[in-house]
Symmetry: C2
Subunit: 185 residues, 2 copies
């Protein structure tokens, strides 16, 4: 069901073709919020069209169809956004790995934590670049993905903070540790 709202959300910003939407899923939204490929996007656009949530605004060369959100679609999107935040039904592989980290011997866990810090630092560099770009191109500090980028920035900073804490805890337990047993207390 979320793909439907991801598409409505993108079309709410501006009309797009299936191809455009596929490209946009390769950017911020696809990297941090919801991933989708063209093979899923095209059939879903047909369903949205059948439900009158979007309409064909323009037909161009090479069979290109530009879709725009309808009033009905915009209403449904806003209704969905106003629902209370929840993490029900979460499926986050990144967090799952962190969750299961204690299954590794401490030295290996520490290595993964270092790679986690590296990864988070790279993401922060990327997001900082995106924020500069948004400010430069759109003169905007809220819309056009800026709010999401600011969120990502803070989450990755929190991740780095956590990883440093975890490495320190692992080090505490390392003298005489056999697996996790030495880490307890």
């Amino acid at each position: 069901m979320s793909l439907r709202f991801a598409l409505l959300g993108l079309l709410n910003e501006r009309p797009c073709s299936g191809y455009d939407l596929t490209r946009r899923f390769e950017e911020g939204i696809g990297a941090y919020a919801w991933h989708a490929q063209h093979s899923q996007i095209y059939p879903e656009l047909k369903k949205l069209l059948a439900d009158d949530l979007i309409r064909v605004a323009e037909e161009g060369a090479r069979g290109r169809k530009t879709y725009a959100i309808t009033d009905q679609g915009a209403d449904l999107l806003r209704e969905w956004l106003l629902q209370r935040p929840t993490t029900a039904g979460v499926r986050n592989e990144y967090v799952l790995r962190l969750f299961l980290l204690p299954a590794l011997p401490p030295a290996d866990a520490e290595q993964v934590l270092h790679k986690t810090i590296e990864f988070a630092e790279e993401q922060i560099t990327l997001l900082t670049g995106e924020l500069d770009e948004i400010a430069r191109v759109h003169g905007d500090t809220v819309g056009n993905g800026a709010m999401a980028a600011q969120y990502g920035l803070r989450v990755y900073r929190a991740t780095i903070d956590w990883a440093h804490w975890a490495i320190a805890r692992l080090a505490d337990g390392e003298h005489g540790a056999d697996g996790l047993a030495g880490l307890e207390q």
Copy 2:
């Protein structure tokens, strides 16, 4: 594929029946990392069994089967955990909502942000309670979900920080705003 590793990870901590695993997915791992129901867990356990990644350790009353991870399963789990962290293929409805928030009129967006703060505060209370419980029962500050809980704590603090920033930005733009237009530089 991740369900497979979630199950291996849980069985790596201790042997469990399908029923036990279903219960455990209602706790931390299911709330913050990976969600699954019994109708998916039982078939997946059969596949893991067929692949010799787990074994039946014990059969009890009411058809209960207790599964334990095999050496092969533990090796595969560790190999998966050692892969470089990535957010490829992310599907996070919670973040998707935050991403699309600028689709709402500022007053509505602000309301959602307040609800986001409330929700994050509740999660922090829950996680703090869980950390106390883990320390009390297991005398542990790293394993048994403690590392994951510490991560959650930091992510929710970051969320609250972000939401306050976002509310302030919205307020900045509100004098004379029509939709997002008034927010742009």
